[in-house]
């Protein structure tokens, strides 16, 4: 494969296959022939494997032809959403070690190629694809888009649930504020009898409703932060990952506060207009 116009090229080879590991010795191996292996930290925790232990790895369960390997590293699970639902353990072996172990020949499942710069990428892709037979090169960004469909669906689902929740919350907020202001009918009647103009009353009620909505939404932000921590703590424990499941971002806070203040103000205005539209004596129940 000719890539002469690529100034620097770094290739990494990957191969994936199910491999079984079994602890056979806790003493560190001194044999130079025994290869090293990196094991999933969850596997190590669940089965009491430690760094330096010798394990037997094989391509199939119960395979007596497996090889011994020394645990040289423990792998923490990446905070990758695509991996959280998968419970199987991961192991990393040297490429030639795994190829031999699973009788895979001189084959790999994929290459990662690093180009010298963004400008070189398209030319490099064309060069690889024109010389390739039976494989194809993809830009990482495109792979990310193609493999992120699951999360796009989850995001759309969560957004849809969010819309339903907002409709319910809006109805509740409007209702509560109507009630709150309706409770003030006698105060409003007294103000009207004292000669305070309807516009002043409406303005004061609207400001009051806005302040209540703002204070409520600030309390909601604090509650949301607590719930987000609880949700993250719960799901991180369930899936044994450091992935953040809920994030309270400044945009989310701003959206929630603006929406609730807006709804509160509208509710306050509607309720105040209803109150000042009635005769003062009616408001007093006469």
């Amino acid at each position: 494969m000719s890539v002469r116009w690529c100034i620097g090229l770094l290739a990494a080879l990957y191969i994936t296959a199910p491999v079984r590991a079994q602890v056979i010795d806790s003493a560190p191996s001194r044999s130079p022939l025994v290869r090293t292996i990196a094991l999933d930290a969850r596997l190590a925790a669940d089965h009491g494997v430690q760094l330096g232990d010798t394990v037997r790895v094989s391509a199939a369960p119960g395979d007596s032809l497996g090889e011994r390997a020394v645990v040289s590293a423990l792998l923490a699970r990446r905070a990758d959403p695509s991996e959280i639902a998968r419970q199987e353990y991961r192991a990393r072996l040297h490429l030639d070690h795994l190829q031999r172990l699973i009788n895979y020949g001189d084959r790999v499942d994929r290459f990662a190629v690093q180009s010298a710069g963004d400008a070189e990428r398209a030319t490099l892709l064309d060069a690889i694809n024109s010389s390739a037979f039976g494989f194809r090169a993809w830009p990482s960004a495109e792979i990310a888009v193609r493999t992120s469909r699951t999360f796009q669906v989850v995001r759309r689902f969560n957004s849809a649930i969010g819309v339903i929740t907002i409709v319910a919350s809006a109805a509740f907020l409007l209702c509560i504020l109507l009630l709150k202001i309706d409770e003030r009918r006698r105060d409003v009647a007294a103000l009207r009898m004292m000669g305070i103009s309807p516009a002043t009353i409406v303005n004061s009620v609207v400001i009051e409703a806005g302040i209540i909505a703002l204070l409520g939404s600030l309390a909601g932000v604090v509650f949301g932060l607590i719930v987000a921590r609880l949700v993250n703590w719960h799901f991180q424990g369930v899936y044994r990952t450091t992935l953040a499941f809920t994030l309270v971002t400044p945009q989310t806070v701003l959206f929630a506060c603006v929406l609730s203040v807006l709804l509160g103000t509208v509710a306050g205005w509607v309720a105040a207009r209803r109150l000042v539209g009635q005769p003062a004596l009616t408001l007093l129940g006469r």
Binding site: P18, G134, F135, A160, T165, L174, C175, D182
Partner: protein, 396 residues
């Protein structure tokens, strides 16, 4: 009588009641959707696995069917051993592999291919044409036909892989498209083929010789399935025998996020609904303090007042819940459409399955919530001091 009084009290403030009804209806809709999501996935998945009556799946040890590239070796011997077990009525081995359809040297269509035996298979149903008959027959789904432009009766060249060094395909073989099938467990967007198991094994060379990705097993009855599963597990240390319950649990674990989300959102909508109804009825009771005191003064029993206020909560929640079930069914369709875009999901799989039991659970929970919401204001109404309340109302 208490129901009528409750309704009259609610219709005294129609705008307030309508807004509360809307809020409760949307909460009820969300609750119903979440109940449908939580139970629907499980029920649907069970029915989905039982499409052809195979209660058990045998996969390579520690894996779920088609969860990895791992395969079971010595499949013929394994199938023979399982067939001899007591309680087994049918055994269907299946091998899965990626197969290239050769259109020209530079143009191929990759199809997921199942190797199976048509007389015992549980993976597809015929749509058009003829079933697999000989080693040159192949079945295709509509997506493969659309991707390749082939029709029933066409002769096609298929290969199992590539040799980049020799720049040639390997395991190449000629087939005739005999029919069109719908593959139950494969996404309709995935080009798929079906052929006889020995043919696919042969195309794969030594790597796939006598191998299977999965063996499906049918027991005499559902009741015998667990006993048969235990017997199968003892046949070989290299396999996992998975029952319907085991497979459902594994999938539920994978989709646990949705179930837990459903639980959290359902609980929140219920709690918020209770709070709203409590607030609404408490304020209503405060506004009617004079009336309640008069009723008590003329001899109406405390229990009657309590019952009326509790009924107010139940009527409000009940009306909201009934409206909410209609909204919930509509929103469930909307959410189902979103989730059906999940990559690799078979067309027959459903996340939201309406069952009258689900609607009953949602209604019962809301009725309970309505009652709960009415308890505090009812207690307040019943414990008002009659004389003090009457005097305060008279002065006001």
């Amino acid at each position: 009588m208490p129901v009528r009084l409750a309704m009259l009290a609610l219709f005294r403030h129609p705008a307030r009641t309508l807004l509360a009804l809307l809020g409760i209806a949307v909460s009820a809709a969300l609750l119903l959707d979440m109940v449908m999501l939580a139970s629907g996935m499980r029920e649907n998945f069970k029915g989905f696995l039982m499409l052809r009556g195979y209660q058990l799946r045998v996969a390579p040890k520690g894996t779920l069917p088609f969860d990895s590239d791992a395969t079971i070796d010595s499949a013929t011997a394994l199938v023979a051993a399982i067939s001899k077990l007591q309680g087994v009525t049918a055994v269907s081995p299946v091998l899965g592999a990626q197969v290239q359809t050769i259109a020209s040297r530079d143009s191929t269509v990759t199809a997921f291919t199942l190797g199976l035996f048509p007389d015992v298979q549980g993976d597809y149903e015929m749509m058009r044409g003829a079933d697999l008959a000989d080693s040159s027959s192949v079945l295709a789904n509509d997506k493969w036909l659309a991707a390749t432009g082939h029709v029933i009766g066409d002769t096609v060249m298929l290969a199992i892989g590539y040799d980049p060094q020799l720049q040639t395909v390997v395991g190449q073989r000629q087939f005739v498209v005999r029919g069109v099938a719908r593959f139950h467990y494969i996404a309709p967007t995935q080009p798929t083929l079906g052929m006889l198991l020995p043919v696919l094994q042969g195309m794969g060379g030594s790597e796939r010789r006598d191998r299977a990705s999965l063996v499906m097993v049918k027991a005499v009855s559902d009741a015998d399935a667990e006993a048969v599963r235990t017997r199968i597990a003892g046949v070989s240390p290299r396999i996992s025998a998975i029952s319907l319950e085991g497979a459902t649990e594994a999938v539920e674990q994978r989709l646990g996020y949705f179930k837990q989300l459903a639980l959290v959102l359902g609980s929140i909508s219920l709690a918020v609904g209770v709070l709203l109804v409590t607030t609404l009825i408490t304020i209503g009771v405060n506004e009617r303090a004079g009336e309640i005191a008069v009723l008590r003064a003329i001899g109406v029993a405390k229990a009657s007042i309590v019952w009326q206020v509790v009924m107010e909560g139940v009527v409000l929640t009940g009306a909201g819940a009934i409206t909410g079930i209609g909204i919930g069914l509509v929103t469930a369709k909307w959410l189902e459409r979103i989730l059906s875009d999940f990559p690799g999901l078979p067309s027959t799989f459903r996340f939201f399955v309406f069952q009258p039991r689900d609607a009953g659970v949602a209604l019962a929970m809301l009725a309970g919530a309505g009652m709960l919401a009415g308890i505090y204001p009812a207690w307040r109404a019943a414990s008002m001091p009659i004389a003090v309340t009457l005097r305060r109302e008279a002065v006001a």
